[in-house]
Symmetry: C2
Subunit: 345 residues, 2 copies
DNA sequence: AACGATGGTTCCAACGTTGTAAACCTGTGA
DNA sequence: TCACAGGTTTACAACGTTGGAACCATCGTT
């Protein structure tokens, strides 16, 4: 049984509360007492019991991060950055994998862990706007693109604009048959919709008519999907001379298919992706992509949550909710990284 | 304020304890009462307060997983699998990133979170054997290779044997100047040592003298390290005709350098890695590698922990420790996946 | 010298849950 | 009819912590 305040108090010859005061950095403790208590703490190796703390204060010091999957490099990077950002506030991050299952996401939002976590950073995949509103009282920050101005704070990059930039870059290289890999029918697949919208906008802008056969749908955003989609495109009547993968993983899958078939990248087909994952910086050829400022995104998400948590509700309001300031929508900058897959060596 | 047992009890017209009994599936509750209580629970949307539960029972239902870094694909995959395995026991996994910092790892083991977690699954990078012994009372399962038969359960593949298999495979292709990328001096870098040992054993077995210039040291196991090491090897007097990267990421980095310099893989230089990460299955060429049964590893790790947790100590022992059965060493099978980077198309 | 102000410390009561032991029923056999 | 056994329910105390009020010095002020 690990030592508690009681044991420390006994050893230092003071009351339990005094020890608590020392531990919590309460100001009015005489230097002598403080030293004595501190010594007892060190000697016994006392560690505050989080469960008891949480029970008393309602705060656990744990926030949850829910992402579709950790295997995906983008989310892995993101998770790492969020853990780092949270560490600065000495929060612990509980990472949840939803696998894109709607019911799993619903459970999360409904507050299955309501008591256990102080806040939630959530990158929804299956759930669309309205369903997210049933958050309970745990503050939530949404990541990724959303059209719906929902009930929670939200951080994202301007996916549509970024997708348009990529497409413009491909057009600028003189390509005209530009394929898009990553379209999805599901209405909740907002990411896919937004990137498709950006792609279309750029085409329209350049006066290039859209060829529906160049827009490839995928079941999910994995390498195999990208590879398969690329194969289908190449087998079509008029294969593309450029491809925009809606994320790097799709683009890398496409790249693989192209090289496998002996096509030259970018001479025969230029390839661009989205996310700037590490693999793309080391593939052959290196991958042109959109680099969102993911570190900033992570920092902002944690900051927003901190702000919500810092807000003590105006007392005796009676309305019960007291959700404070209205939800905010924050944009994070991005950058187009033109690399070998479009520019060549 | 979310409803507690108290509220449910009031609504159902029974005592708090009866509600507790219903929630915990205690047998001797009359069907009528049970139904009434259940109804109240549903109506109020009661959720047990984990903090209070933990305070009372000492169990939190949370286990921690500590890995060097999530960005690394191998660990990301591993983390995902462990989360899945833990879910089957309805445990939550807290993922910790140590970044390979020794002090961070020490903190973990010393039990910074002692109260908060029921068990720890730990893949140490910086910490060597002895320092791991100060586990406190939280059960721990170690992942990855260890020579030291330490104080904790341990799951790993036979890294040395696997490394020897890879090297033998390269030798079998008729290569004689086989380089190894991933050696490390640090005595705690057990992974590197074991794989190097396997590499050497296979060479010795084939009667190939070891050329120290073909053993490349790296600072860490990242793509850049692999790429840099490969470049250095190629610039040497007698460049290798095969490379064994101590993990896939290193091998992929090396691959990148080779292709960049216009060398053919595997014709000029054959490349093999270790881990079977997804990237290697889609690189060009696809990467020959060792595929550990990571799913099995995850399952075993969780099972071992469960066993330790299930063990109720023989009461009144008095020795205080009561660590039960001695630490176990479990091996997980692996498989050599020969792909294009050694076999060609 | 009496007084308030202030710093330093303690006491008490909760937070929500469960183990223990005891109380309460109901029905049975003597 | 009474005691007893069994299932069923309850009261109480604890788990370790902290907010708030209360307490006791000590000091500076009038």
């Amino acid at each position: 049984m690990p030592p508690g305040l009681k044991d420390v108090a006994a050893r230092a010859g003071v009351s339990i509360k005094t020890v608590s005061n020392v531990v919590n950095g309460y100001v009015h403790v005489s230097p002598g007492t403080r030293a004595r208590v501190q010594q007892a703490i060190d000697a016994l190796g006392y560690i505050p019991n989080v469960a008891a703390r949480q029970l008393r204060s309602g705060r656990s010091g744990v926030i949850a991060l829910a992402v579709p999957e950790l295997q995906s490099p983008y989310f892995a990077e993101l998770a790492g950055l969020i853990v780092q950002a949270a560490e600065r506030r000495s929060w612990t991050v509980l990472i949840d994998q939803t696998d894109g299952h709607a019911d799993r996401e619903r459970n999360l939002v409904a507050g299955l862990r309501r008591h256990a976590i102080d806040g939630l950073i959530f990158s929804p995949l299956a759930l669309a706007g309205e369903e997210l509103s049933t958050t309970g009282d745990t503050p939530m920050v949404l990541l990724g693109e959303r059209i719906w101005h929902g009930p929670a704070d939200h951080v994202a990059i301007d996916s549509t604009a970024a997708a348009a930039d990529v497409t413009r870059h491909l057009i600028g290289l003189g390509r005209h048959r530009i394929a898009a890999i990553g379209a999805q029918r599901l209405p909740s697949a907002v990411t896919a919709h937004q990137r498709l919208a950006g792609y279309r906008a750029a085409l329209a802008e350049a006066g290039i008519p859209e060829d529906p056969r160049l827009v490839a749908e995928v079941a999910s955003f994995h390498r195999v999907d990208g590879a398969a989609a690329m194969a289908a495109l190449l087998d079509g009547p008029e294969p593309p001379d450029a491809v925009f993968g809606f994320n790097d993983v799709l683009a890398l899958g496409a790249l693989r298919t192209l090289l496998e078939r002996g096509l030259r990248v970018p001479e025969d087909v230029a390839v661009a992706g989205f996310d700037d994952i590490e693999d793309g910086r080391f593939s052959t050829p290196t991958l042109t992509t959109i680099a969102p400022d993911t570190a900033e995104l992570a920092r902002l998400a944690v900051d927003l949550l901190a702000e919500r948590l810092g807000e003590t509700k105006p007392e005796g309001d009676g309305s019960g909710d007291g959700s404070g300031t209205p939800p905010r929508e924050l944009r994070v900058p991005y950058e187009l990284k033109a690399r070998e897959s479009t520019l060549g060596r």
